[in-house]
Amino acid sequence: MSVETDFLRIQGSVAPWVSGSRTAENRLDMDTSAERLVPAVTALRSLSWGYLSAITGFDSGTAAPSDGHIELLYHFCNGPAVATFRVKVPREDPSVPSIGPLVPSAVMYERELAETMGVKVAGLPKKRQFLSDDWPENVYPLRKDFTMESAAATREVGPAVGSEEAPGTFIIPIGPQHPALKEPGHFELAVDGEIVTHADIRLGYVHRGIEKGAEDRSWVHNIYLMERICGICSHIHATAYVLGVESLSGVAVPPRAQTVRTIFCEMERIHSHLLWLGVAAHQAGFDTLFMYSWRDRETIMDLLEELSGNRVNYSVNLLGGVKYDIDGKAADSVRRGLDFLERRTTHYLKIVTTDESFLRRTRGVGAITFDQANLLGTIGPTARASGVSRDLRVEAPYMAYRDFPVRPVLDSRCDLEARFVVRINELFESYRLIREMLDHMPAGELAVPAPRKVPEGEVISRVEAPRGELFYYIRSTGGVKPDRVKVRTPSLCNWAAVLSVAVGHKLADIPMIMVGIDPCFSCNDRSITLRRRGSAESWSWEDLRAYGISYYAGGGA
């Protein structure tokens, strides 16, 4: 069904609760109000259309043309189409109802809004999820009148809210150090004996304020700031950002530049998936696989360094193009590297699907059913391993994916094994794509000049990162700096799913289930305090992992 007919259908069913709507290419914007938001979302949900991709809030400030409001944007996505409900609330009393009962994954985004924008969302838990506990009360960093001085001057710190535990439950806190997201994470797992009965997450221990920082830097500076959101998928962040800015300023990027960008995207996916394979194997206690897959991953890291000059933050993007070409000699070394990796990947696919002891940790474990994955807004390989075909490269091709179509990789087994198989098969697809792009590289320029001031407007830029859909909302007021850059990273979407599937599983399976969504548990050791009715034992993540391994070594007794 085409996007237009979809939009007509949506407009028809939400009409009573929407005061105005506009469509532009792949976008439908519907104005509604705080009172009518819930019925409007209910009407949209009744169509079973799309999933909630992000909630953006921006403060229009109090300066002249603005009427002093905060605008909330609820973005629902389905393939290339984005349907947005826009709600304006006054700055003095910004309150909206929660859409959590309709869309479970909304709660995480609403909590972010409440803490960073000061929007009162009825019915949210008191505990902070994003800002640190010692952040002053009633100071909201994403408001336009926020200054560091005002925050520092407010000494009033809210009371720390502990976990709301029912008497008699054992809560196992894990974290907070966890390097996968923009923010490290802390988990609280309530257990009944061996079985997890409830899981909660706390993020933001090292909230770096990148979204706020972006408002204070030029359009060029921000390429490098965005690149530093993630050390694994650095290029895709910069790419999502530059694609958005280029479309705002109407810059047509030459096809060769787009192809180079795409090759880097795919190479990044290869390094990210191989990294994940090692980390996941390590969590299962299969360190041999961990060592070998990381050894082989060096091939792609060396290639990235050879092509760009940097190993991690390749910084190949410019506004309007790329810095480096991939020419004959470089292309040949990429081809050689891919041949080697393809052989190794075939080997790894065989191992993860045949190794008996490994399969005991993955087969039938951590199932996210198709319906759960769909409803919870799961994305990326995690969704595709549950048969939900969400892949922006396929559904809404951008850059060179238009000329070099991606074959979707799906698996309907829903368990951890499927997540291994999907990611490994995606590696083969990436090898194929890169080879094809190298063989049919369009000729031409590498970059065109881009203006320093970006015309007024807003844009949504969505790309497929290694972990799933990466969502950028960029708004310009016509100046040399952005007015708002909202970033929703893929892992944030997938946490909702992992928290619900964790329930009912054995504690020993938790490390594997969490690692299954690829939140990159590689870098740090985390401290876990195991609280048993008042007494405290300290566990590190390492201990929990060891516990998982020994649990299965002992026959799962």
Binding site: V220, I223, R295, E305, E306, G309, L318
Partner: protein
């Protein structure tokens, strides 16, 4: 897998013996920023676009196009935006000077042009 392990037993270690054996860096490696005084016209585009505030230009004599180029190695994130922004081709990044760690803070500030050396070639920078 066992086969894999067995084969690996007879391979030489994969780990590189850095710093005893230093692998040649790729051509495009982005090391220390080098400035060519003879090409620079003092437009300061590099200063404006540097995301890390690593560059400052001190004007000695604008008519004679004499500048001092302050480069903060400890701030630089090796993004090469300055190299792209410079329309005069005055900036390059060295692929040999990348051992830049130091226990001495002074080593992190390079002032090109100060010694009256003119163009900052790789050899001059090494001194």
């Amino acid at each position: 897998m066992l086969n894999d392990v067995f084969v690996s037993l007879f391979k030489r270690p994969f780990t590189e013996r850095y710093p005893y054996a230093v692998k040649p860096a790729p051509d495009r490696l982005r090391g220390k920023l080098l400035w060519d005084e003879s090409k620079c016209d003092g437009c300061k585009l590099c200063v404006r676009d540097c995301p890390a505030k690593a560059i400052e230009i001190e004007v000695v004599d604008r008519a004679a196009k004499k500048y001092l180029y302050h480069y903060r190695i400890d701030r630089c994130i090796y993004c090469a935006q300055c190299v792209e922004s410079c329309k005069e081709g005055a900036l390059t990044m060295s692929n040999t000077l990348y051992h830049l760690a130091s226990a001495d803070k002074a080593a992190f500030t390079e002032i090109y042009g100060a010694k009256g050396t003119g163009a900052c070639s790789e050899e001059a920078a090494e001194k």
